[in-house]
């Protein structure tokens, strides 16, 4: 069932490749929707307790398996992916003229990317994970290089080099891991076997670092974040949505599943350093966002800040903060999707998303301005939006262990209000500028509204009724806490009556 889920968009993507024009568009969208519906079925089956994991020998000599499985976090990442892809396909429709290749190639690449990402989230074999971790770079590279701004080729190479550098370090660790484990007996790359790994603390730390560095590049942490703003600025907003919304999540996903899951002692030891790095990311990303002049770069830097929160939540090592991080990963996917895609709508009309090139948009396109504001409010974690629950649990969990760190991190929420509201004020409010009146001649079309409606709805539903999803994130969080052999700080005063 999981293999079918992962292969469905791949097959669809290859079929779309041979279609033309609008046909490719519709078939692509249909494939994405079918995948989404199918993923919901898979989720329902999984939640009813059926074990869906698959398990076959792949490379015997290495102990590598074709092994797929679902846990709480994996399930949510799968659903995030299958929901965002149709949204993106509906929001941005490429004509044949505008890119390097035809529109059908774009749709095909998006679907292939979806398939590879699903494999990343489903793989329960480290080698299999690694292969797909690297494979996602290929369609993403072409998506950035093929469509977007004038300097997109350079941005694509930059993205690729950063990712490959991280991937290379990861490869060393993966090989090291395999050898270390093989020394203990039969070789295996299955996560369930690798947790029994027993090596010296220094070896474990080295292996941990390899994984962590790769994931830190993915979940762009300062100072290895610089590829993201360039990529976001040059790529099309739909590509950026997939990049930040899904691919970057592999970073924090990997930290929870592999760094903590395989190297609990090293994770505990590394905590103080990582927590400080995360704090730097939060504040640095937010301050840099305030200073941006381009809306796409601005959104990219907000993500640097938000990923800081997520990493902080992972390494605060409490059930609440890890659960909050996973919850935040889902909602951050939605909130950045709204921001990137609305900016994309504006870019289509205006041809530029420099903040100074817009002004008073609210008066000519109130629905578009309203959607941007909603996305912004989700980004600054207003209560009522799902992202609030995530960010709050991250900080509250952190506070229960490190009050001072959490207090400094909370400053990020003030800066968030600044970067969102300053951008909104400069572009959406005030008198209508001449350029705005000339270019922004229409409000959001029904297709554009329809594309964002499910995402905005999801943010609100998760904001007011987060419990069902938190039950799922708690599974993974509790699992991590057990692996780590760490317990939550107990209430100091004790449970109130």
């Amino acid at each position: 069932m999981l293999t079918i889920l992962a292969l469905l968009p791949l097959v669809g993507g290859l079929v779309v490749w041979f279609l033309k024009g609008t046909m490719a568009r519709y078939v692509g969208l249909a494939v994405a929707l079918v995948t989404f519906v199918y993923s919901v079925v898979v989720a329902a089956v999984h939640l009813r307790g059926t074990d869906l994991s698959e398990h076959q020998v792949w490379i015997k000599a290495f102990g590598a398996y074709y092994a797929l499985g679902l846990d709480g976090m994996g399930l949510l990442m799968v659903l995030l992916t299958t929901l965002l892809v149709p949204v993106v396909l509906l929001a941005e429709q490429r004509s044949d003229e505008e890119g390097r290749w035809g529109g059908q190639v774009w749709t095909g690449l998006v679907l292939i990317l979806e398939s590879l990402s699903l494999y990343v989230f489903l793989a329960t074999d480290v080698l299999l994970f690694y292969i797909f971790f690297e494979a996602t770079l290929i369609p993403m590279y072409f998506l950035i290089a093929g469509w977007g701004g004038p300097k997109r080729a350079r941005a694509a190479v930059k993205f690729l080099l950063f990712s490959l550098a991280g991937g290379l370090v990861l490869l060393f660790s993966v090989i090291g891991l395999g050898i270390s484990f093989a020394n203990q007996g039969a070789p295996s790359y299955l996560i369930e076997d690798l947790v029994k790994l027993n090596v010296s603390p220094s070896t474990q730390m080295l292996l941990f670092l390899g994984f962590f560095v790769a994931f830190a590049v993915k979940a762009p942490m300062v100072p290895v974040h610089t590829w993201l703003p360039d990529a976001a600025e040059q790529a099309t907003p739909a590509t950026s949505t997939l990049l930040v919304g899904i691919l970057d999540k592999i970073g924090t996903f990997g930290m929870i599943r592999f760094c903590i899951g395989l190297f609990p002692e090293a994770s505990r030891l590394a905590t103080p350093v990582v927590v400080v790095l995360a704090l730097i990311s939060i504040l640095y990303g937010a301050l840099a966002a305030i200073g941006q002049r381009n809306m796409l770069r601005l959104v990219a830097f907000t993500s640097v800040s938000h990923f800081g929160f997520m990493v902080l939540g992972v390494f605060a090592l409490t059930t609440q903060s890890i659960s909050g991080t996973i919850f935040y990963m889902v909602n951050h996917g939605f909130s950045t999707a709204v921001l990137f895609l609305v900016v994309g709508y504006l870019a289509r009309r205006r041809g530029s998303v420099e903040i100074t090139s817009l002004g008073g948009v609210f008066q000519v396109a109130p629905v578009m301005a309203g959607m941007l504001l909603l996305g912004g409010l989700a980004s600054l974690s207003l209560p009522g939006m799902g992202s609030f629950v995530g960010e709050f649990l991250v900080l509250a969990g952190t506070w229960s262990r490190y009050p001072v760190i959490a207090a400094v991190g909370t400053l990020g929420t003030v800066l968030a209000a600044l970067y969102i509201l300053i951008m909104y004020q400069r572009t959406m409010t005030g008198p209508v500028t001449e350029q705005t009146r000339e270019y922004v001649t229409s409000d959001a079309t029904w297709r554009e509204r329809l594309a964002l409606a499910p995402v905005i709805l999801a943010l609100l539903v998760l904001g007011f009724f987060p419990k069902p999803v938190l039950d799922i994130t708690d599974q993974t969080a509790k699992q991590s806490m057990t692996t780590l052999n760490v317990s939550d700080p107990a209430p100091t005063v004790g449970q109130g009556r």
Partner: protein, 638 residues
């Protein structure tokens, strides 16, 4: 006197399970008006006006229900659903109907309903009318969430919700850059206050594993002195932001950019008093920490002086009233900081102020309506004759705020000054002086607006506002006069069980004669007299007169609050931001790229790739994919 312990909530029966309707009705209407769009342009504002009235009806029914219960059972928990559950923490989205929350609900929906009615007239010709009413309903829903929640985290949801509504409504006329800036400023300053709020809730969760009032009330006495003091101070920071108390006061004066009904509802009668509610609600915390309680009292006193000071030197009628609001909330904070004896006075003054200040703000709106939206009092004068209903209702508010015997403000404010005098003589004396200043600036306002000679600009023809606007004025003027008399003997005993205060004895509708009361009255009369001497006997210039009076100059500049923020926070902040951006573009990016190329040992190749050999790179990758694919297949076969 009997000291009552806090109430133990009992399960909801009878009508109480319907309490959620109070929040749901305006929330649903707000959502519909925003979603359905122009379809509802024609009738949306009527539906939106009915919403708070329906909530008011529910609130009255619940109030009657509470009245009918024995005192010990006047706290009812209405379970709704589990909002958050993770690890050992559970946050229920329950409602708490108790003597404190229900008076707030009545105030919010009652005054809110009247302001909705008034807005039908005030916003009649505004193209954004539907949006305006939707935001107002959103505000009502959020404010009710704030006061009806039974725990701090859901309270915080309402707290941020009213902040959002406030942001949207201050910048409602967002085509004016000043309005857009003012809205943003209000939101950001409130976020600074929220730092305190969120950290207070973090502390509760870490200490008690819960954020419910019940858990905090029960656990506060077991906290260490350090943490309980910190908790008290963090809550105070939150209260300062929302209630525009020094040092987070600067946003309130700018908030007057919003339409006047908004100023009346949000920035006078309800939202800005949320900080007082928060402190009174957290009485168990402040009972354990005299330091934090004293800090509350000092903040209140400083603000009541600062607000009154600003009120004396403004020519914009709304800004005088805004300064006055700051000042009156300062009184409430002072009372809340004094402790159990004065909690009821804080809420008492909050209620009477809600009536008379809403009354005066709407009156100011009525004046602006007649004066072509001019807010400069130097262009008014002699309006008592041309706008008689507005004048008489405003006069009632004026008499109430300065503390004329038997008017509502008299009872509530004198109680605070007396209580302060007993517990903190210095603060009490300052509050007393400020009462004189209040009388001065309000009398000045009356002279400049209603009593002096006409200074109307060309083309302005003052006229009375339509009935849809003056009927709410009349309905608010009535409680401005009688609310003090009616509630004086009742409010203390009613609130005591909820706020852990004392049931006062020997209080009736007749004011108690005391030395401090007489002195206050004398100071008030002196304030009125000085104002008469300065503004009543000489003519008022139409332009701002030059002055060397340092106090006036400082007042005109809002005591340099903005200048302070600019120099201390904004400019260094901007420099830091610019620095980070430059650092990121220049140093970090370069260093990481350089480091990466060195580490990879690809220096040469890298440069070549960046020169555009992208195609060859793509080819390399395709080959890579094929190799990997082959590996997959072959591996499977081995």
């Amino acid at each position: 006197m009997t000291l009552l312990e806090g109430l133990t909530p009992v399960a909801a029966t009878g009508l109480f399970p319907l309490a959620w309707l109070m929040i749901a009705i305006p929330l649903v209407v707000a959502g519909l008006l925003l979603l359905l769009g122009r379809v509802t342009d024609g009738f949306g504002h009527y539906v939106a006006t009915l919403a708070p009235i329906a909530s008011f009806v529910v609130a009255v029914a619940l109030f009657a229900g509470l009245l009918g219960r024995p005192e010990a059972q006047r706290a009812v928990t209405v379970p709704m659903y589990t909002w958050i559950k993770t690890g050992s923490w559970t946050v229920e989205a329950n409602l708490l109907i108790d003597p404190l929350s229900i008076v707030f609900a009545l105030l919010v929906t009652g005054v809110g309903g009247l302001i909705h009615v008034y807005s039908i007239g005030y916003m009649a010709h505004d193209p954004g009318r539907r949006r305006f009413f939707a935001y107002l309903n959103l505000f009502i829903a959020a404010m009710l969430t704030l006061v009806l929640s039974d725990n701090y985290l859901v309270l915080f949801v309402g707290w941020e919700g009213v902040g959002l509504a406030s942001y949207l409504l201050i910048s409602f006329w967002q085509h004016k850059p000043t309005a857009a800036t003012a809205g943003k400023k209000a939101f950001v300053v409130n976020r600074v206050g929220d730092l305190g709020m969120t950290m207070a809730i973090f502390t509760m969760l870490a200490m008690f594993g819960s954020s419910s009032f019940e858990a905090v009330n029960a656990g506060a006495s077991k906290m260490s002195p350090f943490w309980v003091t910190l908790l008290g101070l963090l809550l105070l920071v939150g209260a300062c932001g929302k209630s525009a108390q020094v040092p987070l006061q600067s946003w309130l004066l700018d908030a007057m950019e919003g339409p006047t009904p908004v100023s009346a509802l949000i920035h006078a009668a309800t939202m800005v008093t949320a900080g007082v509610y928060l402190v009174v609600r957290s009485h168990a915390v402040y009972a354990e920490t005299s330091v934090a309680a004293l800090a509350v009292a000092i903040v209140g006193t400083v603000t009541l002086l600062a607000g009154a000071w600003i009120g004396t030197s403004k020519d914009d009628i709304k800004k005088v009233l805004a300064g006055s609001t700051m000042s009156q909330i300062g009184y409430m904070m002072l009372a809340a900081g004094i402790g159990p004896t004065a909690y009821a006075f804080a809420i008492f003054h909050l209620l009477t102020h809600g009536f008379f200040k809403a009354n005066m703000f709407l009156g100011a709106g009525s004046v602006m309506h007649g004066m072509a939206d001019d807010v400069n009092m130097r262009h008014y004068g002699g309006l008592a004759k041309s706008m008689q209903i507005t004048y008489w209702t405003f006069l009632m508010g004026y008499l109430a705020i300065i503390g004329t015997p038997f008017f509502s403000g008299f009872y509530s404010k004198d109680s605070i000054i007396e209580a302060a005098w007993e517990k903190q003589p210095v603060l009490g004396a300052l509050a007393l002086i400020a009462a004189g200043v209040t009388a001065f600036y309000m009398t000045r306002l009356m002279f400049m607006t209603f009593w002096s000679r006409k200074r109307w600009q060309e083309g302005v023809h003052p006229h009375e506002s339509p009935a849809v606007m003056w009927v709410p004025l009349v309905l608010l003027a009535i409680p401005s006069v009688i609310a003090g008399m009616v509630m004086n003997s009742w409010i203390g005993g009613w609130l005591a069980p909820a706020v852990g205060g004392e049931v006062p004895v020997g209080v009736s509708w007749l004011p108690r004669v005391s030395v401090i009361g007489l002195v206050t009255l004398a100071v008030v009369i002196a304030g009125v007299l000085v104002a008469y001497l300065v503004f009543g006997r000489t003519s008022i210039p139409e332009s701002v007169p030059y002055t060397r009076n340092v106090f006036t100059i400082m007042g005109r500049h809002d005591l340099y609050g903005d200048t302070f923020n600019e120099v201390v926070f904004m400019r260094p902040g901007e420099a830091l931001t610019r620095g980070i951006v430059a650092l990121d573009d220049g140093v970090v990016d370069g260093a990481v790229q350089g480091g990466a190329s060195l580490a990879l040992g690809l220096g040469g190749g890298l440069r070549r790739l960046q020169n555009g050999y992208v195609r060859s790179y793509g080819l390399t990758m395709v080959i890579g994919v094929i190799v990997v694919g082959l590996a997959l297949v072959i591996g499977r076969l081995v």
